[in-house]
Subunit: 221 residues, 2 copies
DNA sequence: GCGCTCCAATTTGAATGCAAAATTGTAGGA
DNA sequence: TCCTACAATTTTGCATTCAAATTGGAGCGC
């Protein structure tokens, strides 16, 4: 197994909440499970610690990072900035074909909205945001975006929505697609920021910080 | 020696160009020099690889990352976005005392400009940019900024300047301080972007990508 | 009965050793 | 003379081993 794979598998375990935020990461157990020894596992944990997904306590082991309200706010704030930048750049560089793909993804997402399928809606939603970021044609930006969104994914894509908020989100996505089709970078950037600001408010108002005993996965249902 | 120290020391070695971009990183040699064994060194290298400072080639060792023109452009682009965001947030959150500190740093920097001391000018310049980012009160943002700027530091703060460009940069910094004092977030964000865009143009026009045999350190003089 | 101290056991962090892969140097042939 | 194939050497990546630090608990004193 390659080093990057080890990092990826542990990342998945953490993002799935299999090891809940704040919980100790059992080195020996993970080693057995992944079929590797402690050396490569520890290398991966250090990398994930640098990413902010793991917290390292000297001589006391590693824990899955737990996000406070402040952390969540900070991450959303940065995410807004990154998406806004991506939106501007995307409008300059995106191809017509890519716009069409995003339009198709948007239509599919709206259908999931009409079906009331939140899970599929979120999946499509995420794909659109990622497509915009990728259309910016800046791998550095895309990398940071991936890293930042990974940390808030559970809060962002697991929050239940009220009908009003959901309707607003869909409306905002109409505007996003529209700005993209008009290649209105400034406009897109503003809409994306508002869109994310609303999302952040939802998440924070719902008290979705990863505090003790707040199992996000349960709330999907 | 603590893990983080190992990472920091290697980072310094790389940023100082002691191991030039593209060069192989001699594991054994570095181990002796730092007085550690290969295990912690390799852990540090993996972290630095995740940061983008080191390139890891499976079964072929690690090299100091070499930036192409495209990499440089991408990094500057992201840096612009981060500073613009930081500027906006800073205007909302900065204290009067912090503004005074930045004003003092600005005055000192202008004096270095008058003295024609580029090294000291760059040092003060960097301190101001960092102070603005810190005033944003967002550790996540500050962390990303540190990581991104580290990668372009050599190009950003080693480029020689023409008198015209230098004068323009100082003028822009006047505007930056002014916007900050007026707490004009939007204005500051625009100035910062323009300021960095100009810097990026300087760097790229000077052909400062880290291509073969382009020893940036020599150009300080 | 409660709390402190000291010791054992577990766990972390680092060094060493070993197998696999890549690089290099060399010899043989065209 | 140059290219190719092969072997020796070096280097990487990982497992194991060892020392140091922490945690938990038993025993002792208050």
């Amino acid at each position: 197994m390659l080093h990057e794979d080890v990092v990826g598998r542990i990342r998945t375990i953490l993002l799935d909440g299999e090891i809940p935020p704040g919980a100790r990461i059992p080195e020996r157990e993970l080693c057995e499970r992944l079929g590797i020894s402690r050396t490569p596992l520890r290398e991966a944990l250090k990398v994930l610690a640098a990413e902010g997904l793991v917290q390292l306590l000297p001589h006391r082991g590693s824990r899955a990072a737990k996000l406070t309200d402040k952390d969540m706010r900070d991450l959303f704030e940065v995410c807004q900035g990154l998406e806004a930048l991506a939106g501007e750049l995307a409008c300059e560089r995106i191809t017509d074909a890519e716009i069409d793909e995003i339009a198709a993804a948007h239509a599919a997402m709206v259908q999931h909205y009409r079906d009331g399928d939140l899970i599929q809606y979120y999946r499509g939603n995420r794909a659109i945001h990622e497509a915009i970021v990728n259309a910016a044609g800046n791998p550095v930006l895309a990398g940071l975006y991936t890293s930042v969104t990974a940390r808030i994914r559970r809060a962002r894509y697991v929050t239940p929505m009220t009908p009003q908020r959901w309707a607003l989100a869909v409306k905002e996505h109409e505007a996003i697609l529209n700005a993209l089709q008009r290649r209105d970078g400034t406009g897109l950037s503003h809409i994306l920021r508002a869109h994310l600001r609303h999302k952040r408010e939802e998440v924070l108002q719902a008290g979705f910080a990863e505090t003790e005993g707040n199992d996000l996965t349960l709330r999907i249902a």
